[in-house]
Amino acid sequence: MTTLSDVRSRLVRPHQRKYLPLYATLALLAVMYGSGVVQYEAFSDPQVVLNVFIDNGFLLVVAVGMTFVILTGGIDLSVGAVVALTTMVSAALLEQAHWPAYAVLPVALLIGPILGFGMGCIIHYFEIQPFIVTLAGMFLARGLCYTIGTSSIPIVDPFWTTMGDSMHLGEYRISPSVIIALVVVLVAAYVLAYTRLGRNTYALGGNPRSAHLMGLPVARTRIAVYTISGFCSALGGVLLTFYLPSGNSLHAIGMELDAIAAVVIGGTLLTGGTGFVLGTVLGVMVLGLIQTLITFDGRLSSWWTKIVIGALLFAFILLQRVITPRKR
């Protein structure tokens, strides 16, 4: 491993290391956007960038929640299923039970945090790997979806359709979801950077035993991040119903992978302890731009998206491997 450490010491000084993946993502984003602008005339329209946010607002919110979990060194595989469950519950309550929108919204937003809280408790108190606990959570949420109904339930509630409409900002369009997603990003960035919870999250990811010995509230923090991730998934689910006004058990299949990919491409270390919400925003933009580029190209089929995301994941994980000091 001498070659790796040589490269490492030549490439980066220690205090810059944590920013390197972020710079790499930024550079990648610039190159992708630049190549789009050079190739396609219509690409330079700012609306293209806004569309990336409109089409991926829900993914952004989910990925922000995932960032918290990955910062503690954990993982949450249940997010896609929780998103689907939220869409299903909202649709069923609105259209089949005919609840008013103001009553449905809190119920829909509560499911995720409750599931997340439960999973966090099991992970912490019974010391079971997050991977397997959230896997069970994923089965549970998907299973609940199917028991509510196997077919798609369209949503025609006026509040929901208004929230799905795009708003005009001068000559550009955005949707209310984009604003909600950006607010979530700002709040998350503030929490991680300036509050005790944020610092505990980083400390827990850096070294759980040190965090424990320092007297930090490990239990509370670990349970909190899974609850936050659950809430973000629920909010993501609500945003998805704004975007696609229907509840469907098959919504958001594989979204956990997209969210993890966005977080990793955004430079958050999977071992925990290092990463930024801003990086996750960049990661989601990279995923969105890949889709946009493939749509603009028109010759490539949609499955190239998956292959490119896989290749990018590989590149960024390799980069992480090069820059992180080997733990002994």
């Binding site: 990955i70 060194g73 954990g74 993982i75 099991i122 108190y125 019974f126 010391e127 079971i128 790997q129 997050p130 991977f131 397997i132 606990v133 896997l135 069970a136 959570g137 994923m138 089965f139 549970l140 998907r142 299973g143 609940l144 199917y146 028991t147 196997t150 759980p208 035993r209 424990h212 058990s249 992978l257 993890i260 990919a261 990793v264 999977l270 071992t271 925990g272 089929s301 949609s302 499955w303 190239w304 998206t305 998956k306 292959i307 995301i309 896989g310 290749a311 994941l313 590989f314 994980i317 390799l318 491997r321």
Partner: protein
């Protein structure tokens, strides 16, 4: 009696038996196996036949988990190998030519082996965490499978290929025979040679094994290659059973079922210990659960709920922390663990 209850396979086997017996209430002739047209028929045979691909994937997964890793890409490899074999066969002039089918099968298995080796290199040589390393192929693999099938579902009409998944050989379903052969081979290799012990030692502590003179990288590589190959075989079976390849949906969630089977069988996710027999029981248990749900008329959508329940219970029972907290009162003789012991904490923090 006490030693029987304490045996680590007691609970999985007991659950399997209970599940099988509960079928009797709904279908009285559940255990009936008959020979019709020279083929074996019956619910039990169906469980074995449809459970065969899962069993094979789970066996490969057992070895990977025993080294302390995990392979999330098996579902994608299932899709790729099925897609590749079907594509090769559909390109042939004569789809029924045995030689052509053999070549297609060999090429598909070779491809699966390569994909396993790719995972192995990422984990053993580059040193990426197994979950993440195999996540790459899990995401990209679905794309690759669709690339092979060109986004379509490839249908083949080839009787030699159909044999693998749906055919019979001397009254027994061919898939069951393949599963038996793979199980026997792996059991022999791991329990009659030193290989099993080497795998467990690498899973227990890779660095210590290396210092003790074991090629731990080579062992880890081998585990991922075997897992890839097993997924390849399962992919052939699944696509052959329905005579078509669907890049998007073939083998979807297979990795989760396989991990579940391994965990139910008593193999610890922390690595260092594995049980081939346990995995066989685990895979059969999952397949029986699925079959039971279908035959008893419970809506099949609830399968996932049952699986969630089973995973949670099995993991809780396996967790030392859970046992310590819940069964503390019963074991006054043993001293209670003082705080989180360093060894268990170390193990638990590894994932993700």
């Amino acid at each position: 009696m006490n030693t029987l209850v304490k045996h680590r396979l007691f609970w999985p086997v007991a659950m399997l038996v209970v599940l099988l017996l509960s079928n009797l209430i709904f279908t009285p002739n559940f255990f009936k196996v008959e020979v019709r047209d020279g083929h074996l028929y019956g619910s039990l045979i169906d469980i074995l036949r449809f459970g065969a691909p899962l069993l094979i994937v789970a066996l490969g997964m057992t070895l990977v988990i025993a080294t302390g890793g995990i392979d999330l890409s098996v579902g994608s490899v299932v899709a790729i190998s099925g897609a590749f074999a079907c594509w090769r066969i559909s390109e042939q002039g004569d789809q029924n030519s045995v030689a052509g089918v053999l070549v297609a099968v060999a090429l598909a298995l070779g491809l699966a082996l390569l994909l396993g080796a790719w995972n192995g290199v990422l984990v053993a040589v580059i040193g990426i965490q197994p979950i993440i390393a195999t996540l790459i192929l899990m995401v990209a693999g679905r794309g690759l499978a669709q690339l092979i099938t060109d986004g379509q579902i490839i249908t083949v009409n080839s009787s030699p290929y159909k044999l693998i998944g749906a055919g019979y050989w001397v009254t027994v379903p061919f898939a069951v025979l393949v599963a038996l052969a793979v199980t026997a081979l792996l059991a022999l290799l791991t329990r009659r040679t030193a290989l099993g012990m080497l795998i467990e030692s690498v899973g227990g502590n890779a660095e210590a094994s290396r210092l003790a003179g074991i090629h731990s990288r080579r062992i880890t590589m081998m585990a991922y290659i075997v897992a890839g190959l097993c997924a390849g075989i399962a992919g052939l079976m699944i696509s052959s059973n329905v005579s078509s390849a669907d890049g998007n949906n073939a083998g979807l969630w297979y990795e989760l079922d396989a991990i579940l089977a391994v965990v139910i069988g008593g193999t610890s996710l922390a690595g260092g210990r594995f049980s081939i027999a346990g995995t066989v029981v685990g895979a059969l248990l999952i397949q029986t659960l699925t079959t039971t749900i279908y035959t008893t008329g419970i809506p099949p959508e609830t399968t996932l709920l049952f699986k969630a329940l089973v995973v949670t219970i099995v993991c809780l029972v396996q967790s030392p922390a859970f046992r310590a907290k819940v069964f503390q009162g019963r074991r006054r003789t043993t001293p209670p663990p003082a705080g989180p012991s360093s060894a268990t904490t170390e193990k638990v923090e590894v994932p993700a």
